[in-house]
Each structure stands twice: as C-alpha cells, then as structure tokens.
Symmetry: C2
Subunit: 294 residues, 2 copies
C-alpha cells in the first residue's frame, strides 16, 4: 500500500481524500494544514500542522499554486515524492527546473502540474501534436467558474463578492460572465467599468451582472473541448476532438492520486504529465493493463 | 537525424514515407519489400529485398499483422529498433513478451501496436481509466472499412470482391454493411446467408448489398468515438468523450513515425503506447514541449 499524505484540506484536499480512499493500493496516513484551521473530528489522529512532520511515500499538494513550489521543495528534500496541480502556465518550466534539481539530490520524484489543465489536457495536446504534427489546436474552457478571474473581480471597489464564469465561444475565445454582489451604495456602472478595464477581462467580451447572493450560484462543474485539425504525413483534414464535463476538484484530485503512483515509479527528478507513461497512473501490474486496454 | 527504414510498401508504407519526409528529424534510408514487387523509380537506390540488408536506427514495419512478430525479432536482433501496428488484440501480451526478451538481449527497443487502435485509442482508454477509475468506456468505430471483415466476406463462394463497412450503432455495438460484387450466376440470397452465418458477422446486424464495382466505393477514411462516464474519487457523472475522423493509413503511419522517436529514447525492451511518455513521440527537446504544451 502506498502511504499518502494530503497537504491542504480545501475543496481539492477533501476530494483527494475520497480519491485515496477509493484507490485499492493507497492508504491516507496524514493530512497537513496550517495551524488554526479547524480539525475534522474523524481526521484528528492523522492531522499535522507542520510540513516537517509529514511521513509518507507521496504527498498530494492541494494548495494554492503559488504555495506549491516551496512546499514541494521541502517535502522532496525530506525524501517524500510530491504531486501538485500548479497551474501558472508561464512559470512551469522554471518551477520544473527548480524541483528537478532538488528531487535528484534527494532521490525523490515530483509530478508538477498534474491536474486537468495543465495536466490531462496537456497530455492530449501532445498526443494530438504527434497524430497531426502540422495544424492548429484549440482549447475551449467551460462553462465553469474561473477562480483567478473571480478573485480579480472581487478585488474591485464596490464588490462584496464575485464569481466569474468562463463561457466557450470557440477557437480558444472565451466570454466572461461576471456575477457580482454589490456593496451598499456601489454603482453597477462603476464596478462594470473597473472590471472591464482590468487586463484579466479587457481582451474578452465581458458581462457584469448584479446578483443578491453569489453563494446561490456556486457549482464546481467545469468542462473543456479541445480540437485539432491538421496534417498527418502529407494528408490534410485529419480531425480530432476531445470534450469533457466534470466536477473540477474531483477530477483534479483523482489525476493527482494517479500521479502519486507514477511519482514513486519514476527515477528521481521532476516530471510533467506529458513525460509520464500513462500506465504508471494506474494501480497494479502493467501487464494486466496492456492485456485489458491495448 | 534519425535513419528510418520502411519495411513493407503498401498503403501504410507509402503513407509512412510521407510522414518520414515531413519529419524535421528523420531521413528515409531504406525501403524493404519482398522480391518481385515492382520497384518505384524514385526508390530504386534505397530499395532492398532482404530484411538482413536493413541498416537503420529504426524500422517501421508496415506489414500485415501476422508478419510483424518475426520481422521485428529479426531486426531487433540485428540492433535495429522497431515499430509496428500489430492489431490482433488478443495476441499482444504474448508478442510483447517475445519481443521484450529479444530486445533486451540485443540492446534494442520495440514499440508494439503503435497505430490508432491499438495505439492512440489504447492510450486514451488508459487516460480515461486514470481520470475516472470506476465506470464504463465504449469504443465505437467507423464509419470506415474493416479489412478483416472484407477479407472474410470475399472468401465466400459466389463473391468476386467485397468491402465491409463498420457502422457505429453506439455503446460499442456495430452494424456491418457488406458490399459485394457477385460472381456470374451467384445468388444474392446464398451469399447473404453465407456471410451472415460466419462468426465474424453473426453477432452483429449485417446487411449484404450487391454492387457492380467495389473499386468505386473504396475510401480509406475512418473514425472512432470513445466515451467514458465514470466516477472520480466519490463523484459520479464525470463525462469524457474523444472522437476523430481520419485517413486511416496516414494516421497509422504518422503514429508509427512518432513511436520510432520514442523507441530510440527508451531503455531496451518492448513497449506498447500506454507505456511511453507522450513527449517522446515528438521531435526536438523535451523542455520546449513542456513550455509549449503543458
């Protein structure tokens, strides 16, 4: 049995617990959270509040992206394999180089950006590229909530709470539907102008809609549609499409759990999902999956 | 540059030549065919008729499946990495064990069943399994020609030529549309009865349709639709779908060309596509793809 620690017990951490409990080859040995966070009664025996107390084969870092690199570095240097869903695309190469160096020194492995985008979508983009090396791929997200855009909208003066939905227009273009709870005395026109002029929104068609209660709108469903039209060899018009409709934290944490298996099966270093054999994400024997799936 | 030999110059072999020519990191150094096959003028300098004369980094085995294991064994033992699109699903584990042993002795690598099914579809089935470990996957083929079913239909008394189309009904069920050119004096009713009672057709809804000229119907387009509805962690109703519409030999040979890169990048042994990092199918540097696709 693979001993798993969950680091961070928010939406993704709670879903990760379900993924670990459902896995035939994993046992949850610890949950790590910051001091002061209320401890669920049924987790009190395995709850820790200091990363340095973590003892496990692999740790699932269910933390905000910006906190992942430091936590991974600490754990990797303690001999613990790590998995995170770090999603700041532009920073992935630098974080990968940093974790790769630490992992190699300490004989551990990290899987970086192991969610659905980056993550399984990245793997599909790579596969599509291999199937048709010339062509154009599009990734259309949603409908689903964007955490990043919601936080930016919420930060504007006059906004008490906000939720930004990403709506797919097609060909990688997105519309933003921003639902806002206005503070007392705030004018919708001012809030709308502030949101629309922010760089997060200024390039997309954006609608700002006042609502009484953001809580009544919350739903962690999300989706994606990826398409590629391209050329295999000298043959044009090869058409590929992938789509999914999913519960976001449930899928993210399920992918992370699979990548914990892959982490312990790799040689030391830091890997993204396009660098892992997919069979390594699955429990049990490689030969059984070859027989069943190939 | 990776030196590539193409073994077998039928539909897939000709498409493989286009894939190799289009690759920035490959050069076609040989084409091997049986003695007696007409030699295309522009290939006469690199044409060989004996496998033992092949000299290359990797060989693409564009042969009927039943000829692949022996050819792969010969080449692997000569120090040449191999890729094939062996598609007899039930025999894959045994062939894999056999090629794995030979490859390890001779320090070479084989990629087995590197087409689209088995091949990229297998990889997607494995990915879907990792994303939702509980649930049901369906693979629906077509519309497209089935070579195996066409050969069986053609073997019946009274059939001059035949083409069997696979039509997707859904949930992994298929309908067979069998177009036949009848021999002089043959009765459609007899031919229909013979085809429908063959084990290849008896489990599926089958229609037999007489036509004047099979050649006028031939088209190497094919397609697939794969779906999975399953459970991530404890969350049900996770929905995944992949579909494609493709030229069959063009995609098969493109995947094979990518797997030639992967073969030279693996440690000795025999691999199916679920055991390969997808990035190894792509040309150039791993870090560039991480930056571009993850």
């Amino acid at each position: 049995m693979l001993k798993i620690a969950i680091v961070g017990y928010g939406n993704v951490g709670r879903a990760a617990r379900e993924a670990v409990d459902a896995a035939p080859d994993m046992v949850l040995v610890q949950v790590a959270e910051a001091p002061g966070v209320p401890i669920p009664e049924d987790l009190k025996d395995i709850w820790v509040t200091d990363l340095r107390d973590v003892r496990a084969d692999a740790a699932l870092l269910c933390l905000p992206s910006r906190l992942c690199p430091d936590a991974a570095e600490t754990l990797l240097s303690m001999g613990i394999n790590t998995v995170d869903a770090f999603d700041i695309h532009g920073e992935i190469p630098a974080v990968k180089a940093r974790l790769d160096a630490v992992a190699k020194v300490h004989g551990t492995a990290a899987v970086l950006s192991a969610g659905w985008d980056p993550g399984t979508d990245s793997l599909l983009r790579a596969l599509f590229e291999a199937m048709a090396p010339r062509g154009i791929s599009y990734t259309d997200f949603g409908p689903g909530m964007s955490m990043g855009h919601s936080v930016v909208a919420k930060s504007k003066a006059g906004v008490k709470n906000a939720l930004s939905m990403t709506m797919p227009v097609g060909a990688g273009v997105h519309r933003r539907m921003v639902y806002v709870e206005l503070a007392d005395g705030a004018a919708l026109a001012d809030v709308t102008a502030a949101i629309k002029s922010d760089p997060y929104f200024s390039h997309d068609e954006t609608h700002v809609i006042p609502v009484a209660d953001i809580g009544a709108l919350q739903d962690v469903g999300h989706g994606v549609r990826m398409t590629r039209k391209g050329v295999s060899g000298d043959t044009h018009n090869q058409l590929f499409e992938f789509s999914m409709r999913i519960n976001n934290p449930a899928l993210t944490s399920q992918v992370m759990a699979g990548c914990a298996r892959a982490a312990v099966r790799q040689t030391p270093g830091c890997y993204t999902m396009i660098e892992l054999p997919v069979v390594d994400l699955l429990p049990g024997e490689r030969d059984e999956w070859v027989k069943k799936l190939v």
